[in-house]
Every structure is written in C-alpha cells, then in structure tokens.
C-alpha cells in the first residue's frame, strides 16, 4: 500500500530502498510487531497501553523516517475520534461527576476520561498498522510470507485484493463520470444521490465479476492448481535473531493478553 510517492517522483523499482534499524527487519517480523502493538494497545486498558504503543510507534517512525505518510492515516481516525469524544463525554452511562451542562446533556469527567482513552487506543492501533503498511510494499510482504510457508492461494488472495482496491476505486470514478455524461445527478440532494446508487454500483460489480473467468484461466495456464511448492527465485538471508524476536513477541503478547483478561494488570494507570 505504500511508497508510491517517492520524493523525486521516481517509481518504486528505480528508487533506492531505504534502510535503517526498523526497515531492515523482515516484512513478517514487522507484521508480527504491528499486530503485537495493536493487541497491546487494546488489552492493556487505561492510559498505559495506548500511550506506550504511541511512544513506540513514534520512535519506530523516527527510525524508519516516516513522517508525512502518517497524515492521511491520522485524518482517517478523525471521524471516530470526534464521535467518541462527543458521545462518551456527554452520554456516558451512570456517570455523575458533571463538569458542565449544555441543554439536555451534561459533560462528565469520567466520560471524558474514557473518551480520551478510547480515542488514544484507536489512534495507537491505527498508527501501528499504518507504520507497517507505509514501510512494507505488498509484493515484498507476500513474497516473504510465501517463503515462510504461506500457501500460494492465500498469497494470491492477499496480493490481488490489496492491488484491486485502488483499481476498483478508479473504476468507480470512471463509471460515475460516464453516468454523469449521460445525465445522472450525483451532486445534489441525498435522495437524488441515492437514486444514482444502482447505475453506479451495478456496472462496477458486474464488471468486476465478469473478469473472474479470464483471470482464473490465466492462473490455470500458469499451473496455479499444480501440486507441490513453488521454487523461490530470490532468498533473503535472515539471522536467528529475527526468528527468536518474532516468537518472543508472540509469546509476550499472549502473556499480556492472558494477564489482562485474568485481571492482573488492574494496578496500571
């Protein structure tokens, strides 16, 4: 999902790959790290989990020199953050510590605390995944996973799905323009826009499905359903350190989840 916009406008395959302590990790290691951080932010309640994960994300982003890439991800969390701040501050069940009242609703301190914690949690979660997505081109991730034993079917599904989303979005825009040229109203009241859903979604879905036959024949022609493993052309050397680190992360995350569910982490702020 990433790296499309290189500083000098060069395509990905020409640009020099960036390196650094974070970027040198194998894609799978970064995936495990991102999932561990996401889980940590959710299961360690209160302030500790979200703030620790946010600090770690900022540190890793600094190491990986990811800066402006975060902006769209941060903007995407805005609807949620606004929603949770409004609803949980003003409509928090059983909260009595009123801060101030506007009309029929009162803002409560406990509601506000919970809202900020939830917002931080979701931002920490979104950014830990974002850091991974911004530093890992899909093709490298798929190749790395396949080398580690992911079957070719899941590998194809993952790679094709990620590649198809921007393609379908572009196609949706083209269909909208084509229908507008034929007089479809896509920019006025909600009822008129709702009437446009069928002429917009119909061609998109039917067009996508009509590709199924061609694509499956193309895959079959390349021995997609042949038995046995594919041979990997390029292998990357990998130290024992990363393997150990991955397993360590998995075990540690599982331990934190269990401790949190069992209630051993209540003492954390």
């Amino acid at each position: 999902m990433t790296a499309g916009a290189h500083p000098r406008g060069l395509p990905d395959f020409v640009a020099r790959t960036e390196s650094g302590p974070y970027r040198d990790l194998a894609p799978t290691t970064r995936l495990v790290l991102a999932l561990s951080m996401a889980l940590f932010a959710f299961v360690v309640r209160g302030w500790t989990g979200p703030l620790l994960v946010l600090a770690l994300v900022v540190l890793l982003a600094w190491l990986a020199r990811v800066r402006r890439g975060f902006v769209p991800y941060l903007l995407a969390t805005l609807p949620f953050v606004i929603s949770v701040l409004l609803i949980n501050t003003f409509l928090y069940p059983d909260a009595t510590d009123v801060m101030f009242t506007i009309g029929p609703v009162s803002a409560t301190a406990s509601g506000f605390t919970d809202a900020v914690q939830t917002a931080l949690r979701v931002v920490a979660f979104a950014l830990s995944v974002a850091l991974f997505a911004l530093t890992t081109p899909t093709n490298l991730l798929v190749a790395d996973l396949e080398r580690r034993g992911l079957g070719r079917r899941p590998a194809f599904v993952l790679g094709a799905a990620v590649g198809l989303v921007p393609r379908l979005l572009r196609q949706a825009r083209e269909i909208a323009e084509a229908q507008r040229a034929r007089g479809l109203d896509t920019e006025s009241t909600i009822w008129r826009r709702a009437r446009g859903v069928v002429p917009l979604a119909g061609p998109l879905v039917v067009g996508a499905l009509s590709d199924v036959e061609d694509r499956s024949m193309a895959l079959e022609a390349r021995a997609f359903s042949a038995p046995g493993r594919r041979t990997v052309l390029r292998t990357q050397p990998e130290g024992a350190f990363q393997r150990a680190a991955r397993w360590g992360l998995v075990v540690a995350t599982a331990a934190v989840v269990v401790a949190s569910v069992a209630g051993y982490l209540r003492w954390l702020p």
Binding site: T77, I87, N88, L91, P93, L169, V205, L209, S225
Partner: protein, 279 residues
Amino acid sequence: MNWLSRQFTTRVIVLIPIAIALNIVLGFITQTVLRLPIYLDSIGTILVGVLAGPIAGAATGAATNLIWQFTGITPNIGPFFLTAAVIGFLAGLWGYLGIFRPRPASGTQLVMAAAIAAGIVVLLVVPIIGNPTYLDPDLGGFPEWAVPAAIIIAILAALAVAAFIYVRRDLAGLWVALAGALTGIVAAIVSAPIAAYVFGGVTGSGTDVIVAALRQGGADVFQAALGQGFFSDPIDKVITSFVVFVLLAGLSRRLVSRFPLGDRLGPTSEPMPGSSADN
C-alpha cells in the same frame, strides 16, 4: 478435507480478492463518504459464501476487514473481522440450503409468500418497538419520533419485500429476506461486544446517531451497541442479500454453475438435498 478443498477451486480463489475489494470499496463509500446508518460491506462476502460454501465465505469476510485495516482508510474496522467471518459462514449455509435459488410461482402461493415475508419484517421490528431500553420512561425514554420512524421503516421494508416477491413472481424473495434478517441478528450479537469493549461503543460512522439516541434514552455502552446493531444489521443484511440475489440472477448461468455451489443456485425443478424442505 475434500469438502474443504472443494470450496477453494481456482475460480473461487479468483473471486475472493474481487469480493474483498468490492466489500471495501462499497463499504467505505456507504459508511464514510455517504455516512448512512447501514454498512453495505458484505455484498462480496455473502456472494462468495453462497457460491462457494461456509469456509470460503468466512475466510472472505475475515480477510476483508484485516485488509481494510491495512489500507488505512477506516482506522477501526479490523477487530470486526469476527463479525464478517460469521456473516460469510452463514451465507455459505444459505448457499447449501439453496435459499438463493429462484423459485418461480404464481397465484395464491405468490400472494401468501408476499404476505408471510411482510409479516416477518413486521415481527422483526416489534422487539425494537417493544424493547424497554428504547421506551421505558424510567430509563429516560427514547426520542418520541423513534417509534413512528421504526413503524414507517418497517411498513416500507415489508412493502418492498412483498413487492419484490410479487413483481418478480419468485418465492425466493421470502427465503432471502428471512436469511438476511437472521444473518443480521447474529451479526449484531457478535459485533456488540467488539464495539463496546474495544471502541467504547462508538464506530465513527453513520450508525453513531443511533448509539447517541440510545445512550440519551438511558442505555449503557453494551446495550446501546447491541440496540444499534439490532436496528442496523437486519436492515443492512436484508438489503445486501437482495442485492446478491439480483446479482446472481443477472450473472450468466454458465459462470454461476461453475462455482462449487452453482448447482444449488440454478432454477431447477427437482429438489436438491437440503433444500427439499423449502418447497
């Protein structure tokens, strides 16, 4: 094992990424761009489930939400992968049972089916209207417009389903409505704990209007999430199921019949195993 690998033919493997991308694109437009109080992010999941089987459907659903999170356009969709998996699994069961098979009918049978379908829709809405969380004056009560609004939506939905059955002269509309509503109820039950525990009961999409109204009425975080689900999910899944039904009817028979459950989707007269009770 054979049963499992039959669900993942090359054609299905090709369909799954397309279904995932459709889910994400349509869901993103509905939830984030138009901010409607429904989701429309399971058309692809239900399509794969009905064409290929429960495991393929569940895999499509789960992968949709995980990849959606990876694209970063919706920051809190990943944890709902469980709901999406359950939706896909149920769609696979409906596919096995032949729910989405066209069933041409006429005369009394057709009128009866339309009436029953309309009745089911109304039955689904009664618990919403009669739910103390929504109405109990001790809990603060629900805004007064809610009950008339629910009744109007129910009548419109019932009329739409009945009209669909009558105009297309197809009994399948009854089963599709029923399957969609059941899927929606299960989906609501699965998502409510996720929304409540992980996200403080809020999702950042159009459905938050309903959550706010329920909280105002005195519901706690979980009840509000569940109440919102019982409102949005059955409506959403019935719409989605009808979209999938119309899509399947529009696809060429040749293409549909090449999928693992394709033989349960064609308009044949002889009953298939598992669907015999439906006729």
